[in-house]
Subunit: 401 residues, 2 copies
């Protein structure tokens, strides 16, 4: 066996990983129906004004504002209604002095009219409309271009698209948009003992967990997971799997990254490319490596399910978001008293999972090998490497999953 | 026209909408690869222990703990290495007193051994292993069932599945799981003036925005949007579209919910079912209605894009999450000073959009008709109906989109 001779700090690992994250240049064209959560790759410029015409902003009567001058409950004005305009209709005649046209919100303003009196301020008596409040020119009108001006950038390149940005794109008539491609991420577990879920286990075998947890993290943070079946613990099997995986934007391996004689991944990565680090002073997840093979970043995560998922969340997710050009994710945090004293691994930055129970943070971490250390938790607290214990009752900041 | 005679408060609208939200009973069977974000519909019970055998928790040597009693740097013990166990291998012989077996993390413990000495505390000299620290029985061993006990509930029914719960399901060998179905939501815009994006506009026409914004909100909050092309402003067109839409779990219409003579939706809903409210003291979005037709809840959102999206976020999203059995969504909030005074609509609970610029909340709301009121904003502040103005410099709570 080949014990770790040195480990780097968690902060240093984050620095190395993040500086290896190259924002993707490839783009896709997608329907705006599929654009939620994507990142716009080109300024979306409005080809026309939105709206493309002056329109009524309220239901009421289109008038010449000057005709309503001084109108009030005690001194109403009366106008003759000469027509009616619904949305989608084209005005066929104008509005002159002493006239008005009944108009629906969103309908184009008829020529001559320069304001709308809202229906609530009027009384209709056959063709006469009694106006109980004056309006000023422009009142209750949505001006052509008020929402978006022709030639303006309605959504800038690099913007994460959500429902409202998609709405703005739709408003300008865009049916499809250029977005940055999602990085394709090969996700491969390694280990002779690792068996697909759905199959029975022989002695000494375990079901593959990391393929599923890592794939879910990849998909949540802007990547397309491309999972494969587990790779055996031999150099030829690892080499051939790595060669196929290098066609992806990122490769995430798990297992075989520790110090045992069959922990061969780092050897293979070192032979094919450059190992940027191996061993991080973090718990869970110390035997994590990171390499570059050709241009492809390769994570070698620990095989232990809790270690693997924890490092996927704290190292891979921020990396992937930068590659995918997504803004950093900021977990929701709550400050809670710790329900009992916990002891932390000396010299290692610890991500200690907790449950939230009755307003307290209750330690949930069992061991690095136990996926239930994560699955039964609501979040985690961070314990810096120089802190060896946190006392009961201490207020801790819980980052919620 | 038929002005609103009364409106209900926003809180009352929320109460009515939420009491009409019936959690879905239908279930789907999905691969655990597709289960992220779904809600488990049946307790997942472990069919076997995880791990299914005692295993080494560290790389090192499997020993009889008593043999290492008193071992220290100054008083090492020496054991004879009689074999080697990798993960996935089946032990072929036991460990007796004075013996040890080299063992990799995750490999099954050989009979007779009851602890593992980690490799870092040993020195190997041919077949002899020098032990520099004693271990106690059970040390550095992962016990059978330590992660999950056979017969225990590994993930309970009703739990939202994330990466770690999916990992726990995988660990128990589950390849597929029963989850609650996502509610299917018909999303239909109405209005003669509403044209599909990608098509050119005639006079008085606008592109459909609401279909896309509402569909994105539905998909984000656990539903499957089933959008259709815009419906014309006639009773027969609305009736036939509504009849088709009622096959879904929820129907969301937009446009035609106000007080104009062609705002026919509430008439149609009243004739076919029961209108639970029409008109909410909220801005944007006053002309919002809610009905039940048969067993199907039907939202009638305003046609104005900002009003429609705002009410989709504040009324439809919480409703839909309850139907989908998702936990309530809690937006991240930041407290910031308001960059300038804003005046709010008297008597209406206002959701006022803001940008976050240089540590200030900068008002971004333009008008209810402008989708850029939302698209150029980072979040919103709430202004209760009894507050008519918020002064510059006031600390406001911004809920981030």
């Amino acid at each position: 066996m080949r014990p770790f001779t040195s480990v780097i700090s968690f902060d240093e690992a984050v620095r190395i990983v993040m500086s290896a994250a190259v924002p993707i240049e490839r783009t896709d064209i997608v329907s705006i129906s599929d654009a939620d959560g994507r990142v716009l790759a080109r300024d979306a410029v409005a080809p026309d004004d939105v709206p493309a015409f002056d329109r009524a902003a309220m239901d009421g009567y289109a008038v010449v504002a000057a005709d309503t001058n001084g109108a009030a409950a005690a001194t109403p004005r009366s106008l003759t209604c000469v027509g009616r305009l619904f949305t989608g209709e084209i005005p066929t005649r104008g509005v002159g002095h002493g006239e008005c046209v009944e108009i629906a919100t969103g309908a184009p303003m008829p020529p001559g009219a320069d304001a709308v009196v809202i229906v609530e301020e009027t009384t209709r008596v056959e063709t006469q409309v009694i106006i109980r409040r004056g309006v000023t020119a422009g009142q209750n009108i949505g001006r052509r271009g008020a929402d978006v001006r022709r030639g303006s950038t309605v959504v800038p390149s690099g913007r994460l698209l959500g429902p409202s940005q998609i709405g703005a794109l739709a408003a300008t008539g865009a049916a499809r948009v250029d977005v940055f491609a999602k990085p394709r991420v090969a996700v491969l577990s390694t280990g002779n003992e690792v068996i697909e879920p759905g199959r029975g286990l022989g002695t000494g075998q375990v079901h593959d967990v990391n393929r599923f947890t890592v794939s879910a993290v990849v998909a949540r943070h802007g990547g397309i997971p491309v999972p494969g079946t587990a790779i055996g613990d031999t150099v030829p099997a690892l080499e051939s799997a790595l060669d196929r995986a290098l066609a992806h934007d990122v490769v995430i391996l798990s297992g075989g990254s520790s110090v045992g004689d069959r922990d061969l991944i780092l050897d293979v990565l070192g032979a094919r490319g450059e190992v940027l680090f191996h061993g991080v002073a973090v718990k869970p997840g110390k035997p994590t490596g990171f390499a570059r093979v050709g241009h492809t970043p390769v994570f070698a995560l620990p095989g232990y399910p809790a270690s693997c998922l924890s490092n996927a969340l704290i190292l891979v997710a921020p990396f992937l978001r930068r590659v995918a050009r997504l803004p950093p994710s900021e977990p929701r945090t709550v400050a809670l008293p710790l329900s009992r004293r916990i002891v932390s691994a000396p010299g290692r930055h610890q991500f200690y999972t907790v449950r939230v129970v009755d307003g307290q943070a209750v330690p949930a971490f069992k061991s690095s090998g136990d996926i239930t250390s994560m699955a039964n938790a609501d979040g985690y607290i961070e314990i810096p490497s120089e802190v060896n214990a946190v006392e009961e009752g201490t207020m801790v900041k819980v980052a919620l999953f």
